[in-house]
């Protein structure tokens, strides 16, 4: 308890916790869950965008999309690295992803159906992710905070690229315009869900906020996202699919409809449109790649033995 109080005091003082420092088991566990889930999201998040790499409309768009998905894999690496400092290996976390013990962001269980979705994912999904992640640059755990600094820089670049696609689509042919609106229609509410249910319904929030693992409430962030995004949609000439959307002068923000939380929990349970496909794809990649991983290990061992023998 004295240790605990000292720990809390350090955090309150804005100090960073480092891997070799003492930390409460709950702090470690919560961080592993959160960082791991974040890492898994980067990995699974490759799939919905990867779905369009082979159909990108121009060489430049193909290159931009490839680079983006590559960045996501890179983010996965940083984050697994940060989680590993807490004493869990990447392979262990991967196994937990593959058998469903660990989650990834539900947004990636929605399908990408047209090229405009590449715009909507960048604009809305990366936009919401950044909203979540920017404050995490100040999170109390050092490796996580530092990973976030690198990630946020790239994510905001991705978001701009997504918005650029939306601009091209919204200012394009009637079919492109329709595609853009259709993408916004499908991704608006799932994007709002990315901040999680209202904090009053969230169990872990208070402790996480005290530990500075979580920096803002879900509702705060969601409001901020809506306030930022609605004018952008207007700029694009697109209609946010929410009849109740209205500027609220008093609170200085928009009033907006809640997403369908029943759907959110359905998706979380595994009933999203693509949960099965996503996990199948990742499991197949892992299983099909087993012989490669084994061979690389075997080669390294042989090689090490030979060097020893040669000494």
């Amino acid at each position: 308890p004295a240790k605990l109080a000292a720990f809390q005091a350090r955090i309150d003082a804005g100090e960073k916790v480092e891997p070799k420092d003492w930390m409460p088991e709950g702090y470690r566990k919560t961080l592993i869950r959160q960082i791991g889930q974040h890492a898994h999201s980067e990995i699974v998040g490759q799939l919905p965008e990867g779905n369009w790499i082979t159909r990108a409309p121009t060489l430049e768009r193909k290159a931009i999309l490839l680079a983006k998905v590559q960045d996501e894999a890179g983010h996965g690496l940083y984050l697994y690295g940060a989680a590993e400092t807490l004493g869990v290996s990447r392979d262990e976390m991967t196994e937990m992803l593959l058998d469903g013990r660990m989650k990834y962001s539900s947004i990636f269980n929605y399908p990408t159906l047209t090229w405009a979705d590449m715009g909507a994912v960048g604009w809305l999904v990366d936009g919401a992710a950044i909203m979540n992640q920017v404050p995490l640059q100040r999170t109390s755990f050092g490796p996580y905070a530092r990973a976030m600094v690198r990630i946020c820089k790239e994510e905001s670049f991705h978001q701009r690229q997504g918005f650029d696609i939306m601009m091209k689509m919204a200012g394009g042919t009637p079919a492109q315009r329709r595609m853009a609106q259709n993408a916004l229609d499908r991704f608006w509410f799932p994007a709002l869900m990315m901040f999680g249910p209202s904090d009053k319904d969230s169990v872990h929030s208070a402790q996480s906020m005290a530990w500075k693992i979580k920096m803002n409430t879900n509702d705060e962030l969601r409001q901020k996202f809506v306030d930022q995004t609605v004018p952008q949609a207007e700029y694009l000439g697109l209609t946010v699919p929410d009849d109740t959307l209205a500027w609220n002068e008093a609170k200085g923000g928009y009033d907006f409809a809640e997403p369908d939380w029943a759907e959110f929990f359905d998706v979380l349970k595994g009933n999203g449109p693509c949960n099965v496909d996503r996990l199948e794809a990742r499991n197949k990649a892992w299983d099909d790649g087993a012989w490669v991983r084994d061979a690389l290990m075997a080669h390294a061992e042989k090689h090490a033995n030979r060097e020893v023998a040669a000494e």
Binding site: L59, Q70, K168, G289, W291, H299
Partner: protein
Amino acid sequence: MDQQTATFEFLCRMGDNTLVLGHRVSEWCGKAPVLEEDIALANVALDLIGQTQMWLGLAAEVEGAGRTADDLAMLRDVWDFRSALLVEQPNGDFGQTLMRQYLFDQWHVAVLTALMESADPRVADIAAKSVKEARYHVERSADLVIRLGDGTEESHGRMQAALDKLWPFFGELFDDDPVDAAMAEAGIAPLPSGLRADVDQEVAAVMAQATLVIPADRFAHRGGKTGIRHSEHLGHMLTQMQWLQRAYPGATW
């Protein structure tokens, strides 16, 4: 064949190889055996697409018909492609993908190195930019071929199978034809056949380290680089690659 046509053909061959291989490699997105390979494969694909923009951009310029690199990539049907059969082959398992990459890379470095001396400064310039990437690619693919060839019994078997399967597609890269003759005469590009001896030596060295046996048969499939007879695989690739441009003609992306 006049010089302009021959140059256009030659540039399409360079650009279609990188385009088609880049596309194939990009199909791996999110499916590699380890995260580091996801990143590395994306990197290779990115380099190849970038090179495609340069080669096909120059091809379009040489043609002078108002087409762009994107037009060439997205609006030609299979018969107008000049990619070698090797790069059209499906990914197969990771070993097959890697073996295809290694064989291509080893040829690619040789041809790009020679092209740095091209009499056409635009060609020399693209080659100089590309060769650094290609050298890095071959370093990586050779290393992996060696490690997987000399890994486990299973990996050895898979890599040998990949080599056996892809070997008949290697020879086409070194075929000479009238386009090549015209390029050589103009000092724009080397005769492909002239590259073979050195490349073979490199390949032999890598395969020896990988404990893999190069097939004795020198039979080579032909028809990709001339466009006379591609594989059935290319057409299926184009249905994906060109979908959006075909479905929404005239749109800007």
